[in-house]
Structure formats: structure tokens, C-alpha cells
Amino acid sequence: MTDRETIGIYSARAGEYANIKPAKAQEDALAGFLGAVVPGGHILDLGCGPGLHAETMQTAGFRVTAFDATPDFVEAACARGVDARLATFDDLKDAACYDGIWASFSLLHAPRADFPRHLGACHRALLPGGILFLGLKLGTGEGRDSLGRFYSYYSEAELRQALGIAGFSAITAVTDEAPGLAGNVDPFILMTARA
């Protein structure tokens, strides 16, 4: 299921969103992720937004395929020279295809009930030993933020369990907090796991 309202908000504020500087912890996480993925490997940026991270990955020598469900973001990513396509989490049907999947604050827009299925699709899409990165907001339940974007919130324990069930191992987690597009300072978690 794709949330039209969330996509509408991102479309309306795509330019503004592209100018938000990622938190230091996210930049560190990207560097760590790129250090863990096979050099020059193929990365799927699942929910690429305007393509800032995908561009960094390409500059670092990785081959990048990018998905986003917001057309304005796909355009912005293509304009950055990123192979981005309009696609939802349910369009991830590849098997043993990627060395890494970067899902940075994207899967939190999927309903909690769909999360195990999406993690399963990520596990299937990764090559054995491939690395999954997840950035999510910490909390409980589901709801809309002050802008109207749909969010699912998770606890670290829930995430560790869900990753384990999906077949991932070597799970690491960093938690921090930073302001987002809505201006709230929310606690978040950055995780990596191995397929």
C-alpha cells in the first residue's frame, strides 16, 4: 500500500526537502555502510528522495539503482545523474541482485503490518552477505506527523526481532535525534544487518 497523502506532501515540498542537511549520525552511517559493502558493488537506494545519498554512493565508485514513489524526487535524482525510477516497496522483486540496500527513513512510511514483508523482500534482493541499512524513527504505533505524512514507529527490540525473522544477522544499531522536515526533534535509529 502506498500512501498518496505522504507522496503529495513530498511533491509539494521537494525543493525544500532537498536542502535539509542530513544529521552527522546519518553521514557517518553512510560512510560506515559504504565501508561494509563490497567496493564498487551494486547498491539499491530504496526510497532515494532527491538522490543526495545516491549521488555520494556513485561518486564513491558504487553502481546505484534507486527507487522512490514520489515523482518529483525521481526527477531530482535523475537530474543528479542517478538511475532512479518511480517505484514502491512492492516493486522490489529482485532476487540475489544487490550488494547493499540503503533504506534511509523510507520504510517508516509503510504500514507496520507490511514491514515484515518488505524486510523479506530486502533479504531476498540482497546477495548472500549483502548489507541492509535501515534508518527509522523510534516510538510506538502509527500516525501522521504535523505535515500529514504517514509514519510507522518501532522500538529497537522490535526491529532486532523483525530483522532476525527476515533472516538477517550481525545487527548493529545507533540511536540519536535530529530535526526533520516537520521541525520536530525526533529520536531515530540507524541499523545495519547482513543477509
Partner: protein, 155 residues
């Protein structure tokens, strides 16, 4: 009139690094292949997406007469760029809706000019998924890249 197809692919080692492009042109009467032509080339320092663009450009520029053809690419970047985003980029003087410059603008402008002479249908296929023509275009791209790959270490 036979139907004309161009299967295009790019390859890159390093990204940026040495890269190549390949295009397999096929004229078909029904299911019968009446003519094929293969093109390839490469550069010393390029990216995968530039080679994907150049493969399609080379196919278009190789046609001396205005033609109707279908270009089959495994690059969503090329297919979506040329069928969707290029129109607004052009209108915005090669800037995005958010007023940012468009990367690889030299090749987007060249593909825009190259396709203007022809009647092009763009098709996307999944790469490395057992399409024989796409596999052949991939081989051509790799062959195009070969002369630009650093020679094996000399002791």
C-alpha cells in the same frame, strides 16, 4: 518496411572509470531478421549512466535517414529521462523543477537533438534477465570498454 529496433547498453568499470557502450540494431520483417548492425565505443573516464546515454545516442546518430524505431534499454535513467523529465528540463533551460542544473546535460541535449530526427518508441527491459539482444548489447559495451581498461600490472 521492416521494423527497426536498437538494443542499447552501457558498461563501466569503477564508475567513474573506463567505460563502454554498445548498440545492436536489428531490422525485422515480422519475426524474420533482415539486417543487423553492431556499434560499440568507449571512454577512459566516464560513468555507467553516461555510457547508457551514449549507447542510445550512437544508435540514433548512426541512422542516416529519419526512421521509426524502438530503442530498448535496461536503463530507467535513460528511458525515464528521455520520455518524461527531459521535457520539463528543456522548458526550464536545462534546470530541474527545483532550479538545480541537470547532470550530464551535454548528453541529454545530444540525445534530444538526435531523437528529434526520428520517430522513437522507448522501451525499458530489466537488465541481465535473459533477453538475448540485451545480453549482446552488454557484450558490445564491454568490448567497447576493453581498450580503455588499464593493462595488467607490468611486474
Amino acid at each position: 518496411m521492416p521494423d527497426l529496433f536498437a538494443y542499447t547498453d552501457g558498461a563501466c568499470s569503477g564508475n567513474p572509470g573506463p567505460g563502454g557502450w554498445g548498440a545492436l540494431l536489428i531490422a525485422r520483417e515480422g519475426d524474420t531478421v533482415v539486417k543487423t548492425r553492431e556499434l560499440q565505443g568507449g571512454e577512459a573516464d566516464t560513468t555507467n549512466n553516461r555510457m547508457e546515454l551514449l549507447a542510445a545516442i550512437a544508435a540514433l546518430e548512426s541512422l542516416t535517414r529519419p526512421s521509426a524505431l524502438t530503442i530498448v534499454t535496461d536503463s530507467a535513467y535513460v528511458k525515464n529521462g528521455v520520455t518524461t523529465w527531459i521535457h520539463s528540463w528543456k522548458r526550464n533551460n536545462w534546470r530541474t523543477a527545483a532550479k538545480k542544473p541537470v547532470k550530464n546535460v551535454d548528453l541529454w541535449q545530444r540525445i534530444d537533438a538526435a531523437q528529434a530526427r526520428h520517430d522513437v518508441t522507448w522501451e525499458w527491459v530489466k537488465g541481465h534477465a535473459g533477453h538475448p539482444e540485451n545480453e549482446r548489447a552488454d557484450e558490445l559495451a564491454r568490448a567497447g570498454m576493453a581498450p580503455y581498461k588499464p593493462s595488467k600490472a607490468k611486474g
